[in-house]
Symmetry: C2
Subunit: 404 residues, 2 copies
């Protein structure tokens, strides 16, 4: 597709308007936006847009023979699924930023691309402006990769930064994140760890060539963090960050999860604050590489969308090469983690069988336990661990032997 | 080239042996090393290698019809030039790590690629394992890019770290860097800023689509750093780093130079220590992105070579797209910098005409001046500034108006 790119844009919120602005001002992009499909055509918008561009009828885009690329930044997973599958089935390439939809439907999207000889690019779906997907797909395209670990959600990181470094109240910090446009329309999406989870699923496909379903991955957010946890972390000289990770535990197996983590000052992600994202890629030979940048917000995401649009101009598509490797590693939850569990009324030590209890603290108001537990058991006790008086954080010591 | 890759390897030093090890152990690379050409076939080596692989005759590689990729990691720019041009003229693709050769001959190498329908990839030439070139070429492939700035030389950075953070003597630190294999065979290459310069030239071609000759770029190293400079920087709470940068000063112009710089703690590159490299990519919309990793050493460089080999398997080549942009920006030295100049016997204030003198300090042993000067004048006074009693550091305040 080395011709002029004529875009049909779905979604005109913060990101959509960012995309519009960026493309209209990019001299060398050889791209223009022909139509923009929105839910409510009469909504007041802060952006100047020529007559005849806006529509509320998707068919105005799908039936326009001039449009040769769909850009989809709709904040609604099922609408996004309809748009993307319709486009792919028509052989129209898509650039999308919809992590939730992509993470859930990736196997089908890969099939559709193959069947209809077209492509969907979605670097904007993970870590906004940081080119994580493209680098995993193209540059870390070899056997050396051992781990991808990072802060993938800007808004929960912003909240933790405010709470942790500035002593603000959790709810005040959340409100601020929403006002600044960092939080998704439904904040639980960010705070529950789901947003990080979806990004991690996409990353894992491009890192190790394996797709794992969301429900099979242990995901724990930050909504039940207590003052006592923040105090505890401060005393230990660490920060609490919401960390997503996929790690090879041996040649043939890997594990993955999203969980708050005690991060020591010597770690790269320790200094990833506010709405920033940071990703550490670890491999044989090159050890650790660190990529850092703005992970949320309209313009950073739009810049990533623009990179994918430009890549389509040169016919770029993901090859999902790692999926066809001789031995792709298998997903396992059979690993032991060392965790901190705070609780008040839930009887954590009585109800959960731990591999080993290392420390226990009880007081009149708060209690915590530091213990070894398998990830498989954490999945099993998910319900119990999600009680509002409970908060868990991973204490990274990869990976415990039983006698450690 | 989606077939098995059969490699003819030139050079078998630290990097060459790293490449050999990495390729031989990469299960999914579909690549093998058929012949290795060395200068001295009888030299003792620490690596097991089957009979019939080593040769000292380049033609054993060039005349082998099975070999379909040349990997060239020779530590001698003119030998490297002969190998690479011979290969390209035969239509053989090349993966190279020879920054000095590439930086000097890039325009010719681009022509040869086009003429002989083949490709040379050289991500390993800039920042070892960090995928800077590939990202600039592919991902930051748009008008948004404003600046690339970083620590591109691991060995001078290692020396500065030892001197600066550990109070070691300059010569002891240099010796240590050489023993650890971070320094090139000729250490002046690293210390004079030349290594950084060559990388910066390559980066600029992929960042802005413009080639600038080495001799037209102001390059100042760290060999004349004095205790007084280190003391001064410490008192001001900054570190001295050897920084290479290319910066757009307006829509139609950019500047570039390599110079020691006072780096404040709030800057990303402040924490890039020892043999690490770190690159900040700044652009409209996404603001700053930071990439960080091992920039020197055999295995990190070998991992980058492996990425380029894998990319060739999928027919990847640099398109040098930005060189064909409507308006590529023009290189200028007509910018004002604020600099610190230390001197002892050379009469800096008497011999150099500054735009403005901001501070002046004289004592019985050391003197310094803080002044504004145009980059063009710094080029003009190059000879004078390279006196052993003189040391310059940039104080970043982009870009001074004359009345600032």
């Amino acid at each position: 597709m080395n011709q002029e790119i004529k875009i049909g844009l779905f979604g005109f919120g913060t990101v959509g308007q960012g995309v519009y602005r960026v493309i209209m001002s990019a001299k060398n992009a050889h791209a223009s936006i022909r139509r923009v499909c929105v839910r409510n055509i009469n909504k007041e918008r802060d952006i100047e847009i020529p007559d005849g561009i806006l529509t509320d009828d998707a068919d105005d885009i799908f039936n326009d023979p001039d449009i040769n690329l769909i850009v989809e930044v709709v904040d609604d997973a099922s609408a996004s699924y309809r748009i993307v599958t319709t486009a792919l089935k028509k052989g129209l390439p898509v650039v999308s930023g919809s992590k939730a939809m992509i993470a859930v439907h990736l196997p089908e999207l890969i099939e559709l691309q193959e069947k209809h000889h077209t492509a969907i690019l979605y670097d904007a779906s993970s870590c906004g402006s940081i080119p994580v997907i493209r680098n995993l797909e193209e540059y870390y395209d070899n056997d050396l990769l051992l781990e991808v670990k990072g802060i993938l959600n800007g808004s929960s990181n912003y909240i933790l930064s405010r709470v942790f470094d500035h002593g603000e109240e959790y709810t005040a910090a959340l409100k601020k994140a929403q006002n600044l446009g960092f939080a998704e329309s439904d904040p639980t999406f960010d705070i529950s760890g789901k947003d990080s989870l979806y990004k991690l699923i996409i990353i894992t496909v491009h890192a190790l060539g394996v797709y794992v379903k969301p429900e099979d991955i242990f995901t724990y957010g930050i909504s039940s963090i207590h003052d006592a946890d923040i105090r505890y972390a401060r005393e230990k000289g660490v920060k609490i960050k919401l960390v997503a990770q996929v790690v090879k535990v041996c040649d043939s197996k890997f594990t993955m999860f999203v969980m708050p983590e005690f991060v020591e000052p010597s770690r790269y992600i320790y200094s990833v604050d506010n709405e920033y994202n940071g990703v550490v890629i670890r491999g044989e030979c090159y050890d650790r590489q660190f990529m850092f940048g703005k992970g949320a917000g309209g313009l950073p995401t739009a810049s990533s969308i623009l990179s994918d649009i430009m890549a389509r101009r040169h016919g770029y598509r993901y090859e999902y090469k790692k999926m066809s490797y001789i031995d792709t590693p298998a997903y396992t939850t059979d690993v032991i983690l060392k965790v901190y569990i705070h609780y008040e009324t839930t009887d954590i030590p009585g109800l959960i069988e731990f591999e080993r209890i290392r420390e226990m603290y009880t007081s009149e108001t708060d209690n915590y336990i530091i213990a070894d537990i398998s990830l498989r058991d954490m999945m099993r006790y998910r319900q119990l661990l999600s009680a509002p008086d409970v908060f868990i954080a991973n204490i990274p010591v990869f990976f415990l032997d039983k006698d450690d």
